[in-house]
């Protein structure tokens, strides 16, 4: 089963994501309101997929992402943020994020993004050149 970690400073958002992804065959291994919490959970649970907000107090999403990739490079990180600054988004991709979603995100958009991410994961078993 695919393990999912949700990181967002808004509990409403965390719960909304959780709720919207309920019909997937996912195991939500945890939710985190801060970057620090998130890193703890990554270390501990090694989630396959992580949704990550960027504007968070204390540790911002990008820093958190860098740290996550250090601990667990195989994680597929999906950024879900309202901060639609492109550079920040690109930096996230640079740092290893695999998906990107703008808030407000409704269930449809979220499902679609997850479908893609999961499809990618399944085709990951075959060797890919130039990665």
């Amino acid at each position: 089963m695919i393990k999912l970690l949700i990181v967002d400073d808004s509990s409403i958002m965390r719960r909304t994501i959780e709720r919207n992804l309920g019909h997937y065959n996912l195991e939500i291994v945890g939710t985190a309101a801060t970057g620090v919490e998130a890193l703890e959970l990554v270390k501990e649970k090694k989630p396959d997929i992580i949704t990550l907000d960027i504007t968070m107090p204390e540790m911002d999403g990008i820093t958190c992402l860098v740290e996550i990739m250090k601990i667990h490079p195989q994680a597929k990180v999906m950024i879900i943020t309202a901060l639609s600054d492109k550079l920040t988004g690109l930096q996230a991709l640079d740092k290893g994020a695999r998906g990107f979603l703008y808030k407000p995100v409704n269930s449809m958009a979220l499902s679609k993004a997850f479908d893609k991410l999961l499809k990618h994961k399944s085709s990951d078993g075959t060797e890919k050149r130039g990665v």
């Binding site: 808004s10 509990s11 409403i12 639609s84 808030k103 409704n106």
Partner: protein, 155 residues
Amino acid sequence: MERRKEEFEATCKLFIDSVSNYFKVLTEVNSEMGIPYLKESEEIVLKDFTGMIGISGSKKGFVYISADKTMFEDLINIFLGIEDASNADILDMAGEISNVVAGNVRANLGANFMISVPIVFKGKPEELQFPKNVSIYVIPLKWKKHKAFVVVGLE
């Protein structure tokens, strides 16, 4: 004059569009805009809960969304399907809305439009200070039966 007016209207439109987009995308119910009015900083009005974002960079000021508790409860119910939202949830909700709205506006105004993390509060805190010499536009909103304000104060 005309250019500034257009600029102003464009900026206001970004906020209004962002808010109405929020409601539309997440609740599939359109919001309605009421008749806007001007306010002096000392006589600003707030509803039950407010999420506020500070703006810095090329434009300085603030934007906040203030609404009664029921509206946030209604939203939370739509998102999570729960009836009994806590105060913390409501504050969280207010912060999230203003965060998304400000974040979206930033995408359109560019990197020089800096936004802070949302400040959320209930009622009107004593220590709350609004900057002087900014024109404060109060844009009343109606979503479902709820009334809210989007308040834009920009230099």
